[in-house]
């Protein structure tokens, strides 16, 4: 187990380095000279662009380290990242790492609550769908999960606000100040990923129930509960866990959208505000932070995977 964990950790670190390269290259996507672009956005609209001096541009280029060749820029940037410095926000002039750290708990809280919502919905409905496959109960859960899969998260969020905040007044429409404020965002985010998981669990449980070892367990005289929960559910969860990076990605990526809808003060909303203000270092820092978080989650899932499936050997990567 320790050896397996070490191997997976090394792989995760290698992937993490890959992500830093991608994030670094991302900044090169900015059309034109990034420094000029950044400067232009900092002057108020209508201001005389002639006020921007050559010196301003040079200073900014130096600040962003854009004068050096790429590999040098990358290594210097990597050094900064590794020492925990994600740069400074162009608008607030605060260190990005601190700003992200301030907002991260709100996002994690939302993602955690959404995960709970997802599990509460996906597992029972997946089991129900498999046990009653081809029956009305299956058709209903399947249709609901299809709708859940097809519903844009922001649309669902807006609908919920309209219904429960505007029309009924039961829940606060936006913000994190009221504890009840988490209900709607968590529900919106959780429902979206629940649909996928539920369908996966249904299919996987159906496959497992058709396995010879389930027949063998039945021939051993196992009662229903033992058959379902002990013999079938655990192996059935393995493929579901394999797709959990999809779920984690959905939760993290969806957070940016859902936080905007509900004005939830997390890092997703911080990112969207940064986009509006063309605060490129923040976009870069956010992307890297999200990728790191995602890689860390996937690493945790790998370990869980190993616990759930004793067949996994060290050489095998679970996904793929």
């Amino acid at each position: 187990m320790a050896y397996y964990a070490l191997r997976r950790a090394l792989a995760a670190i290698a992937v993490l380095f890959g992500t830093t390269v991608v994030v670094f290259l991302l900044l090169r996507l900015i059309p034109g000279d990034p420094a000029t672009a950044v400067l232009l956005t900092m002057v108020t609209p209508g201001a005389d662009t002639a006020q921007i001096t050559r010196g301003d541009i040079e200073a900014l280029r130096a600040q962003l380290g854009l004068a050096d060749p790429f590999p040098v820029q990358y290594l210097r940037w990597l050094g900064e990242i590794l020492s925990g410095n994600l740069g400074t926000s162009l608008r607030s002039r605060q260190p990005i790492a601190e700003e992200l750290a301030d907002r991260l708990p709100a996002t994690l809280e939302l993602a955690g609550a959404a995960l709970v919502v997802m599990l509460l919905i996906a597992i029972p409905s997946g089991i129900l769908g498999a046990l009653y496959s081809g029956r009305p109960a299956d058709h209903v859960t399947r249709m609901l999960s299809l709708v859940g899969d097809s519903m844009p998260g922001f649309f669902l969020g807006v609908l919920l606000i309209y219904l429960f905040a505007i029309q009924l007044g039961w829940l606060p429409a936006i913000g994190r100040s009221d504890p009840a404020g988490i209900v709607m965002p968590a529900l919106t985010l959780g429902l979206g990923v629940a649909a996928t998981t539920s369908r996966l669990l249904r299919a996987s449980l159906l496959d497992t129930l058709a396995q010879p070892y389930i027949l063998m367990a039945e021939a051993k005289g196992m009662p229903r509960g033992v058959l379902l929960f002990r013999h079938a559910l655990r192996p059935a969860l393995i493929p579901v866990l394999t797709s959990s990076s999809l779920v984690a990605g959905g939760l993290l990526g969806g957070a940016a959208v859902i936080e905007t809808v509900f004005a939830w003060p997390g890092i997703g909303r911080y990112m969207i505000e940064a986009i509006a203000g063309r605060d490129y270092p923040v976009i870069q820092g956010f992307t890297l932070a999200m990728a790191s978080l995602f890689v860390a989650i996937n690493f945790g899932v790998d370990l869980l995977y190993r616990l759930l499936d004793p067949r996994i050997r060290v050489e095998e990567a679970p996904r793929g």
């Binding site: 992937v15 993490l16 890959g18 992500t19 390269v21 991608v22 900044l27 996507l29 059309p31 046990l131 009653y132 496959s133 081809g134 899969d149 097809s150 519903m151 844009p152 998260g153 922001f154 649309f155 807006v158 609908l159 309209y162 129930l209 058709a210 396995q211 010879p212 070892y213 027949l215 063998m216 039945e218 021939a219 051993k220 005289g221 196992m222 229903r224 033992v226 379902l228 002990r230 192996p235 990605g249 959905g250 993290l252 940016a256 905007t260 990112m271 969207i272 986009i275 490129y280 976009i283 956010f286 992307t287 999200m290 990728a291 995602f294 996937n298 759930l308 004793p310 067949r311 793929g320």
Partner: protein, 586 residues
């Protein structure tokens, strides 16, 4: 192939009301979007403050927005942007993903290594996060949107195609094609790409839905087409501010996205089921809730009484008796509907005797095993006759009646030890649970009994903590046997117990079965297609052909002077008959 898929698709659709409704709604919407300039004369971008926020009515079917623009016109014109961006992105993603996946999967080696590493890194970003970052840094607009979405979507695609390719590359027919001298490009095209075309199209269809969602999410965040040009996600965002007085501003674009994506997902699902030809599993009615909740005190008492009666009779009455039993397939959808599996079969197994059942595939011999355990499932149904277990008629028994006997009175050893054990439970647990559930052995004695049965089947005590994959095939079959005899049953059903094993292992397992039969006084129903195996273990044999008993009798007498022609055919077919006599070793 395409024809068959299409036929399945239409067959599925017929009688599927929701499907037809969804399909026509989505087609209507897409049709109107394509024909937008002809459907509506309103200008989607022109502001007119004399008609701000009008509710839906005859003049404006979907009302107007806060700039006085007709919502229907914006919806239809906006749809062109949303849908065309998604369609273009899907085509790019499919082209890139399929090409890279195929090449990486088939070539393997360094190419594959590099491709998988790049894919790993790109998949290390949450999809939407990377798309947002790319679109944001490129400054928004149609082209950045397409690029952002394509960059994010191709890796998952390539990975799936690569997996498919790897799998097919090792299929027997691809190996054979290589030996047959088929050139590599032809194998890639004919055997692999054309095999994959179904899955690829379905994936594309399903992906189109998720890409439409991604496009609208990015537009919602203001990263799409610059206003005032309409787009569904952006319309929804604009409508949010005046939602309380004009909910139609949000509902119209939201429902449009939902309908299109839902239709795509729904039919993607239907097509996938059709293409994969997923076997329709037998109904698992025994696992369903009403049955789980039913707990009948009276039946429980009856079961106890029955068990007592059987205990008294177990030395005298036949353990299992089939009296002119017929079984047939009853499933109108199955091509085998009405086919007779067992035809008036009568046989009996007496305590302590080994009955050998000989039959080739399709003879109904495995149905016999299921019959003896009460595990016969639809589409198989009784066509008549009686099955008696220890003198008790089983006609009225339900799943729970049988459950009380399985593993305790009658147990099973089946063909494939590789798949008969649960892969995620330790061996010890799988043996313990048989004793724990049936309480035939006092709780205090169970640990001791566990060691005893392991010793019985010549397994070391260390296997208790091991998992099935850590054992060889022969050892696994011993575990299955240990499970079967743990509760000292009266009857053991062995369905091809040695077919999957090597000669050496087979001999050991047969010896073991015989030894256990003697020690526990087991009645043994030994089912096999191999005459040599049956001849070695059985006291009496029954030869089964196409559901009928063609011959029955003492083993030695039957093989010494076979009566039925079929038995003679089987005996003549046994390999080695001619040469071994001359080789003389036996």
């Amino acid at each position: 192939m395409a024809e068959r898929t299409w036929r399945r698709f239409t067959a599925r659709l017929r009688g599927d009301l929701i499907g037809i409704l969804l399909l026509s709604l989505a087609l209507l919407l897409v049709g109107m979007v394509l024909a937008a300039p002809w459907v509506t004369v309103e200008n989607p971008v022109e502001t007119n403050f004399s008609r701000v926020l009008l509710p839906p009515g005859p003049a404006h079917w979907l009302g107007t927005d806060d700039f006085g623009r007709d919502v229907l016109a914006r919806l239809l014109h906006g749809g062109r942007a949303s849908l065309s961006i998604a369609v273009i992105a899907v085509m790019i993603v499919m082209a890139v993903g399929v090409t890279i996946g195929l090449i990486a999967g088939f070539l393997g080696g360094v190419v594959d290594l590099i491709v998988t590493k790049v894919i790993d890194v790109l998949l290390a970003f949450p999809r939407l996060v990377l798309a947002i970052a790319v679109a944001a840094l490129m400054g928004g607009g149609i082209l950045p949107l397409i690029i952002a979405i394509s960059i994010v979507a191709w890796p998952a695609y390539a990975r799936i195609i690569r997996g498919f390719t790897l799998q097919i590359r090792n299929e027997g027919y691809v190996l054979a094609a290589r030996c047959l001298g088929t050139p590599t490009w032809k194998i890639l095209l004919h055997h692999i790409a054309l095999t994959l075309i179904g899955p690829i199209l379905v994936l594309g269809l399903l992906d189109l839905g998720s890409l439409i969602l991604a496009v609208s999410a990015l537009s919602f965040l203001g990263l799409g087409i610059a206003p005032p040009a309409p787009e569904w996600g952006a319309m929804l965002n604009e409508g949010r501010t005046s939602m309380d007085e004009a909910p139609w501003l949000v509902l119209a674009p939201g429902c449009a996205i939902l309908i299109v994506v839902l239709a795509l997902n729904y039919f993607g699902d239907v097509l996938r089921d059709g293409a994969e030809g997923r076997p329709t599993h037998g109904p698992r009615h025994w696992l369903r809730c009403p049955a789980i909740l039913r707990w009948d005190r009276g039946r429980q008492a009856e079961r106890t009484a029955r068990w007592d009666r059987m205990e008294q009779r177990v030395r005298a009455a036949p353990l299992l008796e089939l009296d002119t039993v017929s079984v047939r397939v009853a499933d109108a959808r199955s091509p085998y509907d009405g086919r007779v599996i067992l035809d008036q079969v009568s046989l009996a197994i007496r305590p302590g005797e080994c009955l050998g059942l000989i039959g080739e595939s399709g003879s109904g011999k495995s149905t016999m095993a299921m019959l003896a355990l009460g595990l016969m499932r639809p589409p198989l149904t009784f066509g008549g006759g009686r099955v008696l277990v220890c003198g008790e008629d089983t006609a009225a028994w339900d799943w729970d009646d049988w459950q009380a006997l399985r593993g305790r009175f009658v147990s099973l050893v089946n063909q494939d030890p590789l798949s008969a054990l649960n892969p995620v439970l330790p061996i010890g647990e799988q043996i313990r649970e048989v004793m724990r559930i049936h309480r035939a052995i006092p709780a205090a004695a169970q640990e001791e009994r566990l060691r005893e049965v392991l010793a019985d089947v010549d397994l070391p005590a260390r296997v208790i903590a091991q998992y099935p994959h850590e054992l060889s095939g022969g050892m696994r079959q011993r575990v299955v046997i240990a499970m079967a005899v743990a509760n000292r049953p009266a009857l053991l059903i062995a369905d091809e117990p040695t077919t999957a094993l090597d000669v050496t292992t087979q001999a050991r397992v047969l010896d073991l079965l015989l030894r256990l039969q003697q020690r526990y006084g087991l009645g043994l129903l030994f089912i096999s297609h191999d005459l040599r195996v049956v001849a070695r273990v059985a006291d009496r044999v029954v030869v089964l052909r196409e559901g009928k008993v063609v011959e029955a009798g003492e083993t030695r007498a039957t093989f010494g002077a076979p009566q039925a022609a079929y038995t003679r055919v089987l005996m003549a077919a046994v390999p080695g008959r001619r040469r071994i006599a001359t080789a003389g070793g036996f």
